[in-house]
């Protein structure tokens, strides 16, 4: 497929964008990448392709926009069906992958973002506690899903690996900035080892942003969050 037929609108800091890029890598799809500078402004193409949410990632395939990261990953899996499978084939296993992916978006992501936007220490502490709590069932889920193999998806990276692994860049920033070990030998030994394997995978390793570079970017977030809150209050 010609490179120009597949375009991805993204942002190097976004874990959701990374989900789409990992999936495209797994399927060896050639694509054109357009970086959106979302803190500053959104491109015409982004606003036209995702008028409802105005967010990245957006996959544009033969002029058709596909939005929402997990929907994009499923789309990639279905279109490039000759490549390695991303979702399991068994319906029950698929439901399990979807369940834990939804769990990650519901229980892991909100405190993660709360930490990054927090201005006060109390808010940061509360967010860390929630992140740590959310990892406990995930550690157990790894055992059940992997069935003794390297990844949630088995021998190869699958849907759930992508759904959670995309956050490793920011997780490392939070560990460094917060002086904590979110993934550790005591509470999450399986996830700790899985994270190493995931980060080293060929479909992933070029995509995880440098911790220091991401941390530097992260410094701007509390101020941005404050400005956003002020703007929302003014609009009401």
């Amino acid at each position: 497929m010609a490179k120009s037929d597949v375009k991805l609108l993204g942002a190097w800091t976004s874990p959701f964008v990374m989900r789409a890029r990992i999936a495209l890598n797994i399927k060896s799809v050639d694509y054109e990448y357009q970086e959106e500078n979302w803190l500053v402004s959104k491109s015409e193409l982004l606003l036209k392709s995702n008028p409802i949410h105005k967010k990245v990632p957006v996959l544009i395939h033969a002029d058709n926009p596909i939005c929402e990261s997990l929907i994009i990953v499923q789309y990639i899996d279905e279109v490039w069906s000759s490549g390695p499978s991303i979702l399991p084939s068994d319906p029950y296993d698929r439901a399990t992958s979807r369940f834990w992916s939804a769990y990650i978006d519901d229980k892991w992501f909100p405190p993660m973002i709360a930490f990054l936007f927090a201005q006060e220490e109390d808010a940061k502490k509360a967010a860390i506690a929630q992140m740590e709590e959310s990892l406990v069932p995930l550690e157990e889920a790894f055992g059940k899903c992997s069935k003794g193999k390297a990844f949630f998806g088995g021998d190869r990276i699958g849907f759930l690996d992508i759904a959670f692994g995309c956050f490793l860049g920011w997780l490392r920033v939070i560990e460094k900035v917060g002086g904590i070990e979110l993934l550790n030998e005591t509470k999450t030994p399986s996830l700790l080892k899985w994270a190493e394997r995931f980060s080293s995978d060929t479909a992933v390793k070029e995509l995880i942003p440098d911790t220091d570079k991401l941390a530097e970017f992260g410094k701007a977030l509390p101020e941005f969050g404050k400005a956003l809150q002020a703007k929302m209050r003014a609009n009401n």
């Binding site: 409802i52 596909i66 939804a102």
Partner: protein
């Protein structure tokens, strides 16, 4: 081997209704178990230890949780009849997108309409109507979101129709006046037995909402 299908549910739950409709569309026989949410059964807590919520679908002893996941599971297991998701990957992605949109917006905004008062209620009502208009535009001239047949988005969205009356009474507005095509679509869905038999009467739902308001001390 005959399939054993159990649904743990709560009669006014729009999420439970989605699963009821999907099972009915596929003609699947199942056991319906009503949960008392103030006193959750050991089975519910065992089958959904993470969220402890209904609906829970139990298929041959194995639990599936979260209504969108359940509907997709039902569509994938009972493939032969009444396909809910289209076969084309792009159309599937669009169906998933709109189901996700309904999931992100309708329940929370609707909840604010009956739970809040004054400015917050007004703002929620306004946003709720805007969301319905977006969905109305997406429906266009189609019979159903699924085209000529009931599809994934129809199953995910139509349960909220039984809650419309409650929202209108609490928020003092008319959905039909704002979004006539949505009401026409919902009535079309209700012509189907799989939908009409899965949805409770809207006066009963309104009565339930009034009880909740009383319980929470909302006038």
């Amino acid at each position: 081997m005959a399939d054993e299908v159990i649904l743990l549910d709560f009669w006014p739950s729009p999420f439970g209704m989605r699963v009821r409709i999907a099972l009915a569309e596929k003609g699947i026989k199942y056991e319906y178990k009503e949960e008392d949410l103030r006193n959750k059964s050991p089975l519910l807590l065992q089958m959904n230890p993470i969220h402890k919520k209904i609906p829970v679908l139990v298929h041959n002893g194995k639990p599936i949780c979260e209504s969108l996941i359940q509907v997709q599971y039902i569509d994938e297991v009972w493939k032969g009849k009444a396909s809910l998701l289209p076969s084309d990957p792009c159309a599937r992605a669009q169906s998933r997108f709109w189901a996700d949109y309904v999931d992100k917006k309708i329940y929370d905004l609707g909840r604010k309409i009956w739970m809040c008062k004054g400015e917050e209620q007004e703002a929620s009502t306004k946003e709720f109507i805007e969301c319905l208009k977006v969905l109305e535009a997406e429906l266009g001239d189609r019979h159903y979101f699924g085209g000529s047949n009931l599809g994934y988005v129809d199953v995910v969205f139509v349960p909220f129709y039984t809650w419309f009356h409650a929202y209108e009474q609490c928020g003092n507005f008319s959905i039909e006046a704002e979004c006539p095509k949505i009401i026409a679509w919902a009535k079309r869905c209700m012509q189907k037995e799989s939908v009409s038999k899965s949805l409770p009467d809207h006066e009963k739902v309104y009565g339930f909402v009034l009880e909740l308001k009383k319980k929470f001390g909302i006038e």
